[in-house]
Symmetry: C3
Subunit: 343 residues, 3 copies
């Protein structure tokens, strides 16, 4: 519980109305009850400002609602996220190495870390203070996990991989699986050993059942603050820059480098050995088969500039009609030709 004034301090906002009311929870504007705070970002919901039962509403400066208690903020959605965090998110209880966890005697579990039942932590693995390994997390030998991380149930981190601070890994993600590399040897394929690692920088989030492959040699690297959604595939030796958004089921093939502040929509596929410049945006299901310069929006498979793709896609359904019209033009033109030449 916080007072509205405390929340205003937290988000750098300004209270209009009673600042010392107590706020217990966050709720959607149409479901909020007294004691709750809500937010209004989309102007089309303005009428709800009169009917909500919330004790306070986060809005942009300039919005007026006589008789209502408001919290004015430049970015109501961000303020809402921060208030939600302070009111609803409680770091898991620190419980040390719990019964049913198997920790190698040569592993280093910091004071203030938690290793829940069913976890297995290998030799020389390091787990930082404030980090929680939820049940069934497996850290192979020589893995490093930083401070204040949440590593959810069933996550596997293979040998030697390094995870920074404040990283969140959703359940079932695999970090450091072998890259997919084989040399044809005439009859079949000979496995190229994958002796590199994965490095995950600070403040990254990795989605459920995502797979980040270890490098063949060297590193696969995920840049600071990048958010990776569920079931994303990151190939060996890929580098992803800082603050990217990689939506669910994307696949990025080996050795590709993606700049910072890029957004890849769901189910995008990126071929190997490419360079994607900073601030690139790629529409869902696109296929990228060539370098992209950065700062632009692409869609389609193979991808083209997004506007061109939108227009071309709208013409796609007209293809059969276009073919018929071309045939008609051909016939008509030839008739006219005969007419002229014979005439």
């Amino acid at each position: 519980m916080k007072t509205l004034n405390q929340l205003a301090d937290l988000v750098g906002g300004k209270v209009v109305g009673e600042g010392d009311i107590e706020i217990h929870r966050v709720a959607a504007i149409d479901k909020a009850q007294p004691g709750e705070i809500t937010f209004l970002a989309n102007p089309k919901y303005l009428p709800l400002l009169q009917t909500t039962k919330a004790s306070a509403v986060i809005v942009k400066p300039g919005i007026e609602a006589p008789g209502r208690t408001l919290l004015l903020c430049g970015n109501p959605y961000l303020a809402f996220a921060k208030i939600l965090t302070v009111l609803h998110v409680h770091p898991p209880e620190v419980r040390g190495i719990m019964a049913g966890a198997f920790v190698d005697p040569e592993a280093h579990i910091a004071e203030g870390a938690t290793v829940q039942p069913g976890c297995v932590v290998g030799k020389n693995a390091v787990v930082g203070a404030g980090t929680t390994l939820f049940p069934g997390v497996i850290l192979y030998d020589n893995v490093t996990v930083g401070e204040n991380c949440l590593i959810h149930a069933g996550v596997v981190v293979r040998e030697g991989c390094r995870i920074g601070d404040r990283v969140i890994v959703q359940p079932g993600a695999v970090i450091g699986s072998d890259g997919f590399g084989f040399a044809p040897d005439g009859a079949g394929y000979f496995k190229i050993p994958q002796v590199g690692i994965v490095v995950i920088e600070d403040d990254v989030e990795v989605g459920a059942n995502a797979c980040l492959d270890r490098a063949a040699m060297g590193e696969t690297r995920i840049g600071r603050g990048t958010k990776i959604d569920n079931m994303v595939q990151v190939g060996h030796n890929v580098k992803i820059g800082a603050d990217c958004i990689i939506v669910a089921q994307v696949g990025i093939a080996g050795s590709t480098e993606i700049g910072k502040h890029c957004t890849l929509g769901g189910q995008v596929g990126v071929a190997g050995h490419l360079k994607i410049g900073d601030n690139t945006m790629i529409g869902g299901q696109s296929g990228i088969a060539a370098d992209l310069p950065g700062g632009e929006v692409f869609s389609g498979s193979p991808a083209i500039p997004h506007r061109d793709w939108l227009r071309a896609s709208m013409s796609f359904a007209k293809l059969p009609e276009m073919r018929k019209e071309i045939t008609r033009l051909r016939r008509q033109l030839e008739e006219l030709e005969s007419l002229v030449k014979e005439g």
Copy 2:
């Protein structure tokens, strides 16, 4: 083992021939042996009716095979599935909380439930009678699993999620991972806490390594009887109606609502905040970026009515030829024009 008469009662069918023979197993028509029952749904396999060694064959009424013992049913495939179930499917032995399972003292495991080794069950979690947690299942605090469920090995259900009765979850599925929500805060992204849950209604099946994200606030909900295949991604706050078929590797983005009796083919992507009406069918690999009214079939990315897509796809390969023909028409037309105007 059952007699053929018992099986006929089970499926509401009619025996032609000897009803008191004993049936031990089900087999494919070309591999069946005496003591086995098989089925014939596709008329092109009618000749096999004479050569199969099966003791009985499930067929549609109207089919005759003098000397053979038949089981006549309106829907032979469904009858086959029911007989397969009764002869071959044995619910796992009830074994209670087994050695090597870690169950919080404040969890509630019903009489008649089984918790196998390597499972971890959190505080206030509830497991209903007749339900089996296979090895390595992790239930976070406050999870509810109903009666007669099969929760396969390595499944993770995060805090507070609710699973109904007779639900089957294949290995490695993740239920209740955080939704993918971040607010840009200038430099990077601030995580929106995901404080909602997932609700899975009765008789749902969830495929291996599928991911169902918890709601930001409120619920992600999977309707009664819906079948979700492997590696399907369901975003936060998605609602899927009853009796849908969601084929492998589909991705459904946040807040989208899918009606009942819908079928989504493999690898389909559905954008967020959409409404898909009841009885919609979507072809494999399609991309849905707009609301769909229901009762229709769509394909393509972006999707268009299936028939239009089939026709347009057939023209796609002709595009280079069409371009050349347009260029030729242009040239010929201009020559003719010169001829007419100069002539």
Copy 3:
């Protein structure tokens, strides 16, 4: 550590220079240090041959570099892979059944196998000599795993499935999940029991979080030497031939048969009940909806011969322009027609 002469024997190569130098490690050509060996496959990096600090370089016969020690091999990349293996890959230590593993008294764990903590091995399951089950592997009853396999953390193998020798399974893969089969019963869907198994032949690799579904009846089969990447979905009763390469996030629907030596690019989808001939190559993101004869390259969704697809894709962006040009041609043609007929 090996001498260069020993490595030359291993790969069937020829030393130019000092054969008795000691080689400790493998490294990239621009990072290698004395005591390390590197390789040069791409002629564009030839100048690095003069500047690398490596003690030896693997090159094709015909390349000369006076003063450098070379290892001449017909296939430098394959030689590199073999040397990397001999210098860097150490089979895991044999440790038997470790504390924290739950092995059914009726399971058969060979001498020389390792079962790490958190594993659960069911009744009548068999684990061959030299095989390692990493932490948290779950083998259901009656599973067979051959010799010298690496089954990584969190892998689940369901009842009765059979894995050959020298198979590598990356973390989180699921083998033997139920196939996706349901019979409509009027209102909803009745589950078809999936009573078959999965058979994985020798020398196969299965990627992280991949899913191989058990057959409805009979077998799903993965041929000898085939390599399956992360998050690939293989439906029930699929047969994949020997020495195929199936790249990440491919989905293959039920009962499809894929020949030997096929390559499927990332995110390809293959419909059910198809036959794909030997030596087929399929471009990334393609959708296969019909049988393919073998020996050819296909791309697109629906797929067409790769060359046609390349050309058609290049025309795709021109569609709006083509439509306009067709409209202009129509107008011009009609004007000319009026002119001729009235003239």
